[in-house]
């Protein structure tokens, strides 16, 4: 029997929401309509120790809700959840010692104090042995490039610095599994890169399991596996390369044309974008190799061109569009 780091089966979660009416008589306006929103709908998946999984989805797809259920913060209405063998809601405390959750930019930090105080606090909270604490602190300060930052007051830090410090505070106790909820929102590029690098290293060194929720596509480059949530349901659960290969028979061709009006581009593929002299086409791989396409590229009006695989953003949007179509 394999021991899974995360074992989720048929998990569902409802939220009660209120709708405030803005028209009608005073009485009806004072009464609220209550309706139920299904945040998670029969979600099932299993994650092995040491995996890095990206949990993707648009806003409102249920990603954060799922993470919170896995952490023991929220109570699942139905289904079975096991994280490191523990049931998160009833065994929250036992799980907590081996769990790290990075929520927001400064969840574990004290706003008025330097970040190092938060680390000291965490040392006490998780009972980290002194030497181990010093070792890990040195390690993280180096790899996250926080050596000149960690002694500063949190409120004076940039969002990226705060995020890195928060991350550090959340994993200082060497948890076996770490959840990151939208870790790179609003964060500068160097910090994003540092975070991604740290995650990869931790997984390599300690076989730490990671789940990161995000709707930023670059974040998933470090993940080997992608789970895509849409309206509370799992619509994709496979390796990242497989996701990237979807709609993989298409290529994006960006052309720079001196007289765009002269050429009928729709003959070759779907026009995705037009911007002055730039035209972006979606062309099937097979079409690329045809004589007519070759002729297009050789026309004197075509000044420059570039062929690329469709970006993950594009793939995702197509995926969502397909889902929306299927719904109707």
């Amino acid at each position: 029997m394999e021991d899974y780091a995360v074992d989720v089966e048929d998990v569902g979660k409802w939220f009660k929401a209120h709708e405030v009416r803005r028209s009608g008589s005073i009485v009806t306006r004072l009464m609220r309509k209550t309706y139920f929103k299904r945040a998670l709908n029969d979600v099932s998946f299993r994650i092995r120790p040491g995996e890095i999984v990206a949990l993707l989805g648009r806003n409102g797809s249920g990603k954060s809700t799922l993470i919170k259920i896995l952490s023991g913060i929220l109570h699942a209405d139905s289904g079975r959840v096991r994280v490191l063998g523990f049931e998160p809601w009833t065994q929250r405390i036992e799980l907590a010692q081996q769990l790290g959750v990075v929520l927001g930019a400064h969840g574990q930090l004290f706003w008025n104090l330097p970040a190092v105080d938060a680390f000291e606090y965490m040392r006490g909270v998780y009972n980290i042995e002194r030497n181990e604490y010093t070792r890990r602190m040195r390690y993280f300060l180096k790899i996250l490039d926080l050596e000149h930052v960690y002694n500063r007051q949190v409120r004076t830090m940039s969002l990226g610095e705060q995020m890195k410090c928060n991350f550090m505070a959340s994993v200082l106790h060497n948890p076996k599994i770490v959840f990151l909820d939208e870790p790179t929102i609003g964060v500068d590029l160097p910090s994003k890169i540092a975070l991604r690098k740290t995650v990869t290293e931790l997984q390599a060194r300690y076989k730490t399991t990671f789940i990161l929720t995000t709707h930023i596509v670059e974040d998933i480059s470090i993940a080997q596996r992608v789970i895509l949530l849409s309206k509370g349901k799992v619509v994709f659960d496979d390796t990242r390369p497989k996701l990237e290969a979807m709609f993989g028979d298409k290529r994006h061709v960006e052309l720079h044309v001196s007289e765009p009006g002269k050429i009928r581009f729709s003959r070759f593929g779907r026009v995705l974008e037009r911007d002055g002299t730039m035209v972006k086409l979606e062309v099937s791989k097979s079409k690329l190799k045809t004589k007519s396409f070759f002729a297009l590229l050789n026309r004197r009006e075509v000044l420059d061109y570039r062929v690329a695989e469709p970006g993950l953003n594009f793939i995702l949007n197509k995926f969502y569009a397909k889902l929306d179509r299927e719904k109707r």
Partner: protein
């Protein structure tokens, strides 16, 4: 693993240390809060002083006895506010601010009690304590009365804290608003400054069984001032424990309704 209660207490104390450090970073603001809180208690004493200037007093209690009661009530309510900052907790619950705290390996109660600043009440506790000492000195202390007082005070205080936490979860679930709880406690604070008997039998019931403030202020004070039979002492403890137990269970049961900023 250590005893869970000991762990939770250690966590609470550790958190206090860091919240105080955070609080004292801005000395000016901190001083203002502390002074503010200190002055706030003067109001209660002034009220009693005025009443005793124009009359012979309340329900047979002399001035120092009243001071003792007012001090006890003030200490208890401020100790409650120190640990349970109602508005702030409700805010945290509403916008999912409890999440980073809930993932820590400690019991929910100690997480709630360790999740905030609002340390200004400490000076009110200190100020009231000084007046308490003064009035106690005027009245005279015996070991028995002191022991009964301290035990009832601590047990009552804990009961009140658990009760309030339960109320907060209840009103979070029902209304997402702290307004009612705030006003209720403000009302209870005013009422607890005076001997419960002035409110008649019904009033006494309300402030004992409905809102257990009586256990935290009136009964300890009475035990100190006019003595209490062992029977009554254990009765009070029993009832207080029962209310604590019910509050504790209800608080935990209500946790399933936490929605952390969603829904």
């Amino acid at each position: 693993m250590e005893n869970r209660l000991i762990r939770d207490i250690k966590f609470y104390l550790l958190s206090q240390y860091f919240w105080w450090r955070s609080f004292l970073v801005y000395r000016g603001q901190a001083a203002l809060w502390l002074i503010d809180s200190f002055i706030g208690i003067v109001y209660s004493y002034l009220t009693v002083a005025v009443i005793y200037t124009v009359s012979a007093g309340i329900a047979g209690w002399n001035y120092y006895q009243m001071l003792f009661l007012v001090s006890t009530a003030t200490i208890v309510m401020n100790a409650l506010y120190y640990n349970v900052n109602i508005g702030w907790l409700m805010e945290l619950l509403r916008r999912g601010g409890m999440d980073p705290y809930l993932i820590r390996p400690y019991g929910r109660i100690s997480i709630f009690l360790s999740s905030q600043e609002g340390l200004g009440s400490a000076s009110a506790i200190l100020g009231a304590f000084l007046v308490l000492l003064y009035s106690a000195f005027q009245i005279g202390v015996t070991p028995v009365s002191l022991l009964a007082y301290v035990v009832l005070l601590v047990v009552g205080g804990i009961t009140l804290v658990l009760f309030t936490l339960m109320l907060i979860m209840l009103f979070y679930h029902l209304l997402r608003s702290a307004q009612f709880v705030n006003r209720l406690l403000s009302f209870v604070q005013k009422a607890s400054q005076y001997p419960l008997i002035v409110y008649g039998f019904v009033g006494q019931l309300v402030f004992t069984l409905l809102i257990p403030v009586g256990f935290a202020s009136y009964y300890p004070a009475e035990a100190f001032l006019s003595g209490i039979s062992p029977m009554e002492f254990f009765e009070a403890l029993l009832i207080a424990f029962s209310i604590s137990a019910v509050s504790y269970v209800a608080f935990n049961k209500l946790q399933v309704y936490y929605t952390s900023g969603g829904g």
